[in-house]
Structure formats: C-alpha cells, structure tokens
C-alpha cells in the first residue's frame, strides 16, 4: 500500500483513539452522577429551556405556553413536563431522540426550526437521553400546546419540509482532533447545547442562519431583541473581552464594564449558564475567542 494512503488512515485511527480516551476519562468523572443529575445539567447548558416556561404559573415550570415573537409570526413554547395528555409523558426514548435531533414529533409532525433542533441534532446520545431522564422527573402539568400564529406560507407545515431539505442536516458533533480538549468541549457546548448561533448568527431571508456571519450578531433576535456580535472583533464584537471576562459574564451576566445583560440573555444565564462548571464556562470562552473576528455593528434597524 502506498504511504500516502496509509497516513490518513493512521490519522483517523489516532483521532478515534484520542476521542475514545477523552470520552472514557470524562465518563469516569461523571460516573457518580445519575442520569437525572446529568440531565439537569444538560438542560442548564441549553440555557434552561426557558422558551418552554409557563407564563401562567408563578413558579418556574417547563410546561409551556410562552409566546415567542419571531419575524415570521408568534410561536408558543411547548409542554416539556411528563403530563401524558399535553406533555411528553409516554414518549419513548426514540421519540425524544427523534424530536430533539431530527425535529419530528412522535405523531410525525415536523417542527418549526424556532425549536433549535438544528443545534440539538449535534448532541450525543447520552446527553439527549439524560435530558429526557431529567424531564421525566418534572412535576407533570396539564397545559395543552398552542398552534403557532404564522401567516402563509409559513403556516403550512409542508413549507418546513421544503426548508428542511435545503437547510437541515441531522449530524452529530464531530470533535476536531487538531484542537485542544477545552476547545472541543467549548465547541460542543456552544454549538450543540447552548445553541448560541440560533440567536447570535443573523438569518437569511429564508430564515436559515447565515454561516458567513457565524456568531456576528443579529438585529432580528427572538422577541425583536438585538443579539450582539460575539465574535472576537475588537470594534464591534467581544474582542476586548478576556477569557475570564467571558467566563464571568456567563456566570453572573455582568459585562466587563459592570453593566448586566437584560432580556433573554439575562434569563438564560439565570436559569442555565450560571450553574455550569468553571471548566465548561471557560471552554465556551476559549471556543468563542477562537472564532473568526467578523466586523458587524449590531444596531437597531
């Protein structure tokens, strides 16, 4: 066999071994935690799944009903509690996996990508199943899901099928063996769980994230909120933030100048990111700092 052919094979084998060893060591450290505990952490890393909160209840509950305004219309967060009639009670593991990573419900209905399965598709089997184990322990609340209020053509679910054909690939996260463990963990957390790009990457007129503007900020975030540029551009992004600045921000919502994040970002820090380990928050910061700096001033339209 010609050496030029063998070399890539050796590379792939080494990368696979590296990934396997990383997985084993993190599994050992995590072995003491139960699936439910790990799942609670996965939910926190996803920002607390606050789109699914129930605005009708005083206490925080993921039983849905929250209206979310998008440029295409208003959609309502669904019920994630194990209520058998209106929630995810009775869903099998496969049902949940398919919903999270393919965006298809147990009844075969395709989901609007406002639910970021475009990110969650990158999650590992273990994280998805742990998440379900945790959600299954929530207090069941009977609260029927509401249909989205989208105008035509977005109101037709067949439109989503066309969109999916163009913009959705069900693919798991692939670690990059050339990068550090921190970077890979940060990339996984940011892309698969925290789904940063769903708000911080601007969308094309088709509603797909514009990958040339990856994390460069959007003036049309959910609820009409501005999503700042989080690439390391000095003038328009977070290039002046150190790794500890970003870690501290995700932990407390305080920016380097002492101002706090309002709105949706403040909310997901409160219900999610603040609980992540120092190592995981640092990993996200390392990943963000490694991104291509894109100059994009995000100011109100």
């Amino acid at each position: 066999m010609n050496p030029a052919r063998i070399l890539p094979v050796i590379g792939v084998v080494l990368a696979a071994l590296l990934v396997a060893s990383l997985t084993v060591s993190s599994q050992e450290a995590e072995a003491e935690k139960t699936a439910v505990e790990r799942g609670a952490y996965v939910v926190q890393a996803a920002g607390g799944c606050t789109c699914h909160m129930n605005p009708g209840l005083e206490a925080f509950s993921l039983s849905g009903g929250r209206p979310i305004k998008t440029p295409f219309g208003t959609i309502y967060g669904t019920n994630l509690t194990p209520d058998p009639d209106t929630g995810i009670g009775g869903w099998s593991d496969d049902d949940f996996m398919k919903a999270m990573r393919e965006g298809i419900g147990p009844d075969g209905k395709v989901y609007y990508p406002v639910f970021p399965y475009t990110s969650f598709t990158k999650m590992t089997d273990q994280d998805v199943l742990d998440m379900k184990a945790y959600l299954d322990t929530l207090e069941p609340v009977n609260n029927a899901n509401k249909e989205p209020e989208f105008g035509f053509p977005y109101s037709a679910r067949s439109t989503i099928s066309v969109w999916r054909g163009l913009h959705f690939d069900a693919e798991r996260f692939e670690p990059d063996s050339e990068q550090t463990d921190d970077w890979n963990r940060g990339a996984y957390l940011s892309e698969a769980l925290a789904h940063c790009g769903e708000c911080h990457t601007p969308r094309t007129f088709m509603g797909a994230t514009d990958e040339d503007m990856y994390y460069a900020g959007s003036v049309e975030g959910p609820e009409g909120e501005l999503a700042p540029n989080i690439t390391p551009d000095e003038a328009t992004g977070v290039g002046s933030w150190s790794i500890p600045d970003m870690t501290w921000f995700l932990q407390t919502s305080f920016k380097p100048d002492g101002d706090d994040a309002q709105g949706l970002m403040g909310e997901i820090v409160t219900h999610g990111y603040q609980y992540l380990s120092d190592a995981d928050l640092k990993a996200i910061a390392v990943y963000l700092a490694s991104l291509e700096a894109i100059e994009n001033e995000v100011t109100p339209p």
């Binding site: 407390t252 919502s253 305080f254 309002q262 109100p300």
Partner: protein
C-alpha cells in the same frame, strides 16, 4: 390660494415650530438631570466591574476591596429614588415611562439593590471568594430585576 388659506398655513407652521422648539427646550432643560442619572448608574457599574475584576482574576489586594465596592453600590442605591423622582421619559434617556407609572415598585427595587449590595459587603468581609458568589449573583438579580422592567432594552435605546 386665498389669503385665508395662506394665513391658516402660516399659523399652523408657527404652532408646529413652537411645538418643536418647546420639545427641544424641554429636553435641554432636562439634560443635567439625565446626565446625573447616567453617571450615577455608571458609578454602580464601575464598582460592579471592579468587583468582577477582583474575583475573576483573584487579585491579591484583600477582600476588603470587594467589601468597599459593594458598600459603594449599597450607598449609591439610596440615591436612586431622589435622582429619578422627576419624570423625564423623553430625550437622551433609556428610562422607561413605567418608572413613574409604578413608582413604589421602582423605589422598592432600588431598596432591594441596597440590601443585596449590603449583604455582599458583609460576605466579602469574611474573605472567602467562593462564599461571595451567591451574593454576587443576588446582586446581579437586583440589577437585572430593575433593568428588565424600567430600562429600555438595547433595541429601543436612544442613538448614541
């Protein structure tokens, strides 16, 4: 055009002109109060930023630094109600009109900030950085709790 129509048009222009001048003059009159409020808020932020620097870099100056900055915030918080008492919702301000619609709640939130900052100051005196974190987060909740209700979100802020 009849003379009458011309007159009406002139009067209308005059009234509009006065209106604009009045609004501008009003905004100018309010400028010192707005500037003072914004500096007071920046003062809170400067202290909070300093607490952040101390904790994220574990600076070796002794935890009295956090205690002093937190004490500053607690004292600044007592100045908020007087500084915001006059209703100024127009001009170069990001204060929402709701401040004056829900005045008692606004004052209660300023008091909550005072309490949260006082508690962080007390916790900092103990010197244990880890033990301070719940108080830092509670202080963040106090800032955000008021900002979410009474400060315009970024997309609605006046152009800088």
């Amino acid at each position: 055009m009849t003379l009458r129509k011309l007159l009406i048009a002139l009067v209308a222009l005059l009234v509009l002109g006065i209106g604009f001048t009045f609004v501008e003059a009003q905004e100018d009159d309010d400028a010192p109060e707005i500037a003072y409020r914004q500096r007071l808020m920046k003062g809170h932020g400067a202290s909070m930023g300093s607490i952040g620097d101390f904790l994220k870099y574990k600076l070796p100056y002794g935890s009295n630094h956090v205690a002093v900055h937190a004490k500053n915030i607690s004292e600044y918080a007592t100045l908020i109600p007087a500084a915001f008492e006059k209703k100024i919702a127009d001009g170069k301000t990001d204060a929402k009109p709701e401040v004056w619609d829900n005045w008692d709640d606004f004052v209660a939130k300023a008091n909550a900030l005072n309490v949260a900052a006082t508690e962080l100051s007390a916790a900092a005196a103990g010197g244990d950085m880890r033990a301070m974190m719940p108080n830092v987060k509670a202080l963040g909740d106090a800032c955000r709790g008021c900002h979410n209700d009474y400060r315009k979100p970024e997309e609605e802020r006046y152009p800088r």
